[in-house]
Assembly symmetry: C2
Homo-oligomer: 106 residues x 2
Amino acid sequence: MTDDDRVFKALADPTRRFLLDLLFRRDGRTLTELERELEMTRFGVAKHLKVLEEADLVVVRRQGREKLHFLNPVPIRLIHDRWIDKYTERHVTALVDLKNALEEPE
Amino acid sequence: MTDDDRVFKALADPTRRFLLDLLFRRDGRTLTELERELEMTRFGVAKHLKVLEEADLVVVRRQGREKLHFLNPVPIRLIHDRWIDKYTERHVTALVDLKNALEEPE
DNA sequence: AAGTTATGTGACCATCGGGTCACATGTCAA
DNA sequence: TTGACATGTGACCCGATGGTCACATAACTT
């Protein structure tokens, strides 16, 4: 299993993406903290976190018996750079901004 | 199945990522053209292209009996924007540049 | 020391997803 | 119009994946 395979497989599950969303809003949470936000047993959440960790999308720091989880944005950036070169990035960004402006009018 | 679910599921397979790589290098190829680059039957490739198309990662244009495939970078950009905000983007870009410099010395 | 809290492991089961094939439709060329 | 070419469909098999549970270790508390 290659590095990028791990990353994309990790991102393929909605629960794992939701975990990343949670960590994006606030870093450094423990397993039990994250478990509270999900309708799933602790074991399921732990399994998902392990997948994210092995993909390096989440990095951890042990603190006593607790394990703190942090979001690592680097692999995400690498996905971007794989299929969007510097030249087309300008166009795509403009397109996305336009899309957002149309979908979320103030 | 939500939009983003389709995108991430589509990206989860190495064959489909390779197809995107091919289209990133050169757009507007047909099924049989792409099939030649893969060690897989035409049916397998067609199935993968359909998944990419339904995820809007690939857009198509019919031309007679041929079907031309083009890469659409917009969903990729949206992934980026989901977990990398404007503020941290500077740091992450710097990190990635550094990583590339270290791994590919001239 | 004893109970409680936070996390880890391996097995198990149901479902999903990748790949192939037989068969079918539509389009171009002679 | 007849044959060759480009693509589409539905069924099938098998390995991979998501979720749960019984059981276990480690660390804080009183």
